[in-house]
Every structure is written in structure tokens, then in C-alpha cells.
Amino acid sequence: MPTPTAPTPHPSGDNRFKLLDRAITKHQSRGDALIEVLHAAQGIFGFLENDLLIYIARALKLPLSRVYGVATFYHFFTLKPKGKHTFVLCTGTACYVKGASKIQHAAEECCKVKFGQTTSDNKISLISARCVGSCGLAPVAVLDDHVAGKMTPESAIARLKTWQEQPDEVTT
């Protein structure tokens, strides 16, 4: 077992790295905790940018190729930032049988982007999920981390429209 080492503080002074360091220390900087650390990193930063992967690779003493390989292998990790709102459509079998594809088309039409993409104004990300395990309520979508069951194309569009019409926040 590798001896635990305290990671060096990040030069940017970004406080979020302290949270990440804590997660790394909790796992004693062990390489086999890579997936746990990536989960923590994504939870803190929202997505895994290259700089972050390099930082994790150094802290866990792993080749960057291994960290990048794992981060890209699993669907849960995202290397691109998400929009302000997320529309996660379940595409599991029950939802498929109950017409999730109609909702998919309606949402794509409404947002003018495909699933897996974010609108150009960074407001909405359309994401497809394999199965969120709420099959009794099919078709299901997860709207900003809130599970919504028995969706219809109309209810999907209604929600997307309210998101689109929200005024832009003043960007700093």
C-alpha cells in the first residue's frame, strides 16, 4: 500500500481544490480509489476538465493516460461543462415502450440541439440516461435532479420553454 502523502496545494488558489484534496486524503491517495476521486471531483467542479485530470493523476501517482482512460470509459463522467439546466431523458426499456422517443424528438426540436449536447446559450443540456430505475412511472425524465414521471412531449416542451424564457443572469 502506498504511503499517504498530502497533495500539494493548487497554484490557482481555487478553494474547490481543498475539497478535492480532502477526498483524496480520505482515500489515502490510493490509485485504486481513482473512480471515487473522479466522482468527488465531478461533484465539486461539475465536470472534469483536463487540468483537473492532470491534478488527480499527480495526486494519485497514476499515469495521466490511466486517469483519462477511466474518465472517458464511464458514461457518468463528463469532460464538458453542462448547461444551467439539465434535461435527462430516461431511455430504458419501459420508457422506450411508452414512447420516450417522441419526447426525445420534441425536446430536440424545441432546443435545436441533439441529445448529448448543450444549447449555444449554455442554458439547457439534453442528456439521455440508460435507466433511472423508476420504470413504474414511465416515461421518466430527470429535470434538474428532480425525477418527473409520466412525461408527455407537451409537458417536456412546457418545461423547456420556461427554462428558455428565464432571463440571463448577469455574468461576472
Binding site: A94, L137, A138
Partner: protein, 549 residues
């Protein structure tokens, strides 16, 4: 903690519960929470306070109560009255009418004599909807950890394995390998370090059985794993759970902490010489990680890619050590088997498939939700008696079991008994328990394409038959669906399916063609109807008549 302390804890909790005149159980599983059951909890509490019943009636969040399509669900104990679609008004009426005056609220009551409930036999789900999943005391009060106590104080590891073997239980992950046999193999491998791993990477789309057990009765899994650890000689267990199940993760974390605190996990469990710890590992969304060797790689923090077997994980698993890997539902059956004896268990079900199986019933069916039925029950009984058949105006077409590795069972085979062998004989598999009902609106070529799209995306890319084969099968299905394919394409599709099935490295590839093969077997006419009509020309030379196609 000693065994006596455990009994005392159970008695204390029973006495505490006896002080309440009623217990209001609201479903706090993911399905009902998304319908607003937490809001209903607050309403119930508020209504109780208004009637000055707050210290006489307890409000408790429980695991899945089964009827997921009609949530939020509320159960009133001790009567056992179940209410569906409880909104704010109904919550108030339950308190005002049922609790204060007595008569049940007819508008929301569920008929629990309906076959959906009456035909069930609950072992795995017995505590779901009955206890508070977030308190270890409640689990202990319903004989929880009694089996572990008996195992560590009275039984030899060999006796435990013999009991599991005699029960006839087979792996509930889908393949159906005899559990007792597996335990025996791991026990015999000489090694100081061994691991117990619980596969909670419920990746099959359309399956939510394991999630419900993890959310509703997490201690059951811990107890089953600890018993397994004692039997095979392991001191460390891992639960590999999907990141998509945040509530299950939270409850498991809490359960492990509680069990450690009272000395039911950790060092010298119940004052015996047995030490056992359990850690969680969170998956990250890769279907292939349900395959045992891929899952092990993932726990080690690597890409979840399978490797050839043998050596099996029972000899060389996690970090090269002998590892016992079982599914959530398998572990959930262990404590009842030890508590009630193997002969009790193997009297349930049929001789080659003993016990019960939990199914997640969904799709085009009236009663969706979670059911637990004895093995060998006819499929017709599940779909029509329990599920209530397809919704008004449509006709049953097929039941899909086994997810992307399974098949579609058509109407003419509805009388097939649900057990491992019979489902295999009709070209499907038991699988982990997803059961999706399809009606006449589902086109079978499209269904096959849907599953192949899934497998194509989820193929890890290690072996060529699966990586390339699934893409080409999907391409051919698209061509057929678009009406551009010929009979030659259909022949090629079948050939390719057999090739991928026979030459892929792991279970994902080996079973990926199943949905295509099974729909071809029972719904071939749907494929043929979509084929391009041969143009009327006579190919030069060979003299084939195109109309004989």
C-alpha cells in the same frame, strides 16, 4: 454486543413500537418520492398534530411498497390498509377519518386482495414497506441479524455452506449458478485474504428490483454478506452500486455506519472471533461492469473491461485473491434461509428453481411495480392476473425478460412457467428481473434495434466480435427498418448474430444477439414484411426466379 444484547435491542424496539396506536408508513423509494411522497409525509404529520395524535401515531418512511405506478402510497399499520395516489386532501382524510373516526377512506384505498398482492410470496421484499430503512433497530425488531448471530455462535462455516447448498438457491443475477456450490468453491481455495463482493450494478434498462431492496432493506444485504464472509473465510466485503442510485448509496452508507456502531460489522462480531467490514464502491455508468471480471476491474479503479475466464473470480478475483461475487437479491435471501432452514426455502417454488423471484413489472401493463412471486408461476398469471393485462384497447404482444441479454416471449408461450430452464427453452432468460410488457403498438424490428443500439454503445471494445459485430447488426436492423433490406441481408443478420454469440469474450457480447434472435424466432413475419420487394428482373445466367424469395 452479545447475542443477548441483540435480543434486548429487539425487545426494546418492539416495546417502543407497541406504544403507538397506529404507524403510518409512507413509501420513500425513488418512485413515490418523485410523486411527492415527502410532501405527503409533512401533511400527515401536520394533520396528526392538529388532532393531537403526534405522540400516538408514528409516521415512517419505508422502502418500495410495490405499486409504483399509483404512488404516493401510504400504509396504515396495524390494519395493513394501503392507500394509493395520496394527495394533500387524502392525507388529511386518512388522519381525520381513518385514524380519528375509524372508517377507511374509500376513494384512495387499494384492494389488497387483488392478485397483484395476493399472488405474491415475499421473502426478499418482506421488510419493504414494513420497516424504517434508516433505523437498524427496526430491522433488528423483525428478526434482523438473528441469522448472523446463529451463524457466528452456533455454526461451522461448512455447515453454513451446506445449508445454503441444500436450499437449492441459484444466483439471482440471471445466470442461475447454484449459490451453495459457488460458496463451497471459494471456501476451498487456500488463501489468507478473500473478498465478498455484492453486485449492485443494476444496469439492465427496465429493472429496479435491486434498487428497491437496497433502499428499503439495506441491512438485509449487509447481513447476507457477513454470513457469506463467515462461510468462505473473508474479512472484507464490497458493494458495487450504481452511481445512478443516490438514495440507495445514502441508505447503505448509513446502514454500514449503524451496524459498525452496534458491533454487527467490524472486529469480533457478536463477541466471536469473526471480523468483517463492508465498503461501498460507486459505479460510474457502464453496463459491462455487471459482468463479474469487469466489475472487479472497476472496483480496482480501472476501466471496466472483462477478461477471459478461467481463472474464475472464485480463484483469482479482486486484487488476485479468491472472491465471492453474488447479486443483491441472492444476498437478500441468505438470512431467511439460515433463519428458517433450507427445507423451508426449497419447498417454495419448483425443484430445480427454488424460492422466489422479484420482478419489475413495467411497460404496457395496467399495474406496474415490483412483485415477488414463487418460481414456476405461469407467465400468464403474472401478466394478466397480477398485472391486469395491457391497457384498454390494445392487445398483448410480448413480454420481454432479461433486458438486452434476454428475449421476447410471445402470446403463444404465455403459459410458460417462470423458472430458469423454461425461460431458456423459449429463447429468453430469467435475467435479473426486468419484465417489460409490449402491446400491438411495439414493432419488433424496432425493439430489436433498440436493444442492439444499447449493446453497441455499451460494448467495451475489447473483443472484436462484440465491438464490430454489434455495430453491423445494428446497421442491418436499421436497413431492415428503413425498408431497404433484401432477403440476403436477413440471412447475413442471422449469420452475424450466431457469430457474435459464439465468439464474444464475455456475457455482454455472448447475449447481445438474443433480442434479435428471439424476435426473429417468433416475429419473423415482421422482418419479412419490411424487406424490399424484389424488382422484377431476371438475373443473368443463374436463372433464379426472384418471385420464389
Amino acid at each position: 454486543m452479545t447475542v443477548e444484547d441483540l435480543q434486548e435491542l429487539a425487545e426494546q424496539e418492539q416495546a417502543r413500537q407497541a406504544k403507538f396506536s397506529h404507524r403510518l408508513m409512507y413509501c420513500s423509494a425513488a418512485g413515490c418520492v418523485s410523486c411527492g411522497s415527502l410532501n405527503i409525509r409533512d401533511m400527515l404529520k401536520k394533520a396528526l398534530q392538529e388532532k393531537n395524535l403526534a405522540d400516538k401515531v408514528e409516521v415512517i418512511g419505508t422502502g418500495c411498497m410495490g405499486l409504483c405506478g399509483e404512488g404516493p402510497l401510504v400504509k396504515v399499520l396495524p390494519e395493513g390498509t394501503l392507500y394509493q395516489r395520496v394527495d394533500e386532501a387524502a392525507a388529511k382524510r386518512i388522519v381525520d377519518e381513518h385514524l380519528v373516526q375509524g372508517p377507511i377512506v374509500q376513494d384512495n384505498v387499494v384492494d389488497i386482495t387483488h392478485p397483484f398482492f395476493a399472488a405474491q410470496f415475499k421473502i426478499v421484499l418482506e421488510n419493504c414497506g414494513r420497516i424504517d430503512a434508516e433505523r437498524i433497530e427496526e430491522y433488528i425488531a423483525v428478526n434482523g441479524y438473528e441469522a448472523l448471530a446463529r451463524v457466528v455462535t452456533e455454526m461451522q462455516p461448512g455447515e453454513v455452506i451446506e445449508e445454503v447448498r441444500k436450499s437449492g438457491i441459484r444466483g439471482r443475477g440471471g445466470a442461475g449458478y447454484p449459490t451453495g456450490l459457488k460458496w463451497g468453491i471459494v471456501r476451498k481455495v487456500p488463501s489468507d485474504t478473500k473478498y465478498v463482493v455484492c453486485n449492485a450494478d443494476e444496469g439492465d434498462p427496465g429493472a429496479f428490483m435491486d434498487r428497491s431492496v437496497l433502499e428499503g432493506d439495506p441491512h438485509r444485504i449487509l447481513e447476507g454478506m457477513a454470513i457469506a464472509g463467515y462461510a468462505i473465510g473473508a474479512q472484507q466485503g464490497y458493494i458495487y452500486v450504481r452511481a445512478e442510485y443516490p438514495l440507495a448509496i445514502e441508505r447503505l452508507r448509513l446502514a454500514i455506519k449503524q451496524a459498525e456502531r452496534v458491533g454487527l460489522l467490524g472486529n469480533r462480531i457478536l463477541e466471536s472471533q469473526f471480523n468483517f467490514r463492508i465498503d461501498l464502491r460507486i459505479g460510474a455508468g457502464a453496463f459491462v461492469c455487471g459482468e463479474e471480471t469487469a466489475l472487479i476491474r472497476s472496483i480496482e479503479g480501472r476501466r471496466g473491461r472483462p477478461r477471459p475466464r478461467p481463472p474464475y473470480p472464485s480463484e483469482r478475483g479482486l486484487w488476485g485473491m479468491p472472491t465471492l461475487l453474488n447479486n443483491v437479491e441472492t444476498f437478500a435471501n441468505i438470512a431467511p434461509i439460515i433463519r428458517n432452514g433450507s427445507s423451508w426455502f426449497n419447498a417454495i417454488g419448483i425443484p430445480k428453481s427454488t424460492g422466489t423471484k422479484v420482478f419489475a413489472l413495467a411497460g404496457k401493463i395496467r399495474n406496474t411495480g415490483l412483485i415477488e412471486v414463487p418460481m414456476g408461476i405461469p407467465l400468464r398469471k403474472i401478466v394478466f392476473d397480477m398485472g391486469g393485462g395491457t391497457p384498454e384497447g390494445t392487445e398483448f404482444k410480448a413480454a420481454q425478460t432479461g433486458g438486452p441479454s434476454g428475449g421476447c416471449i410471445p402470446a403463444e408461450h404465455l403459459d410458460v412457467p417462470v423458472d430458469y430452464e423454461s425461460l431458456n427453452a423459449v429463447g429468453s432468460i430469467m435475467g435479473s428481473g426486468g419484465m417489460i410488457v409490449m402491446d400491438s403498438t411495439s414493432q419488433m424490428v424496432d425493439v430489436a434495434k433498440y436493444f442492439m443500439d444499447f449493446c453497441k454503445d455499451e460494448s467495451c471494445g475489447k473483443c472484436i466480435p462484440c465491438r464490430v459485430g454489434t455495430v453491423h447488426i445494428h446497421g442491418l436492423l436499421e436497413k431492415i427498418a428503413a425498408g431497404k433490406a433484401t432477403t440476403d441481408d436477413l440471412g447475413l443478420l442471422e449469420e452475424l448474430c450466431v457469430m457474435v454469440k459464439e465468439t464474444s469474450l464475455c456475457g455482454l457480447g455472448q447475449s447481445a444477439p438474443n433480442p434479435v434472435l428471439s424476435t426473429l424466432r417468433f416475429f419473423r413475419h415482421e422482418y419479412e414484411e419490411l424487406l424490399k420487394q424484389p424488382e422484377t428482373f431476371v438475373p443473368s445466367g443463374n436463372g433464379n426466379d426472384p418471385t420464389t424469395h
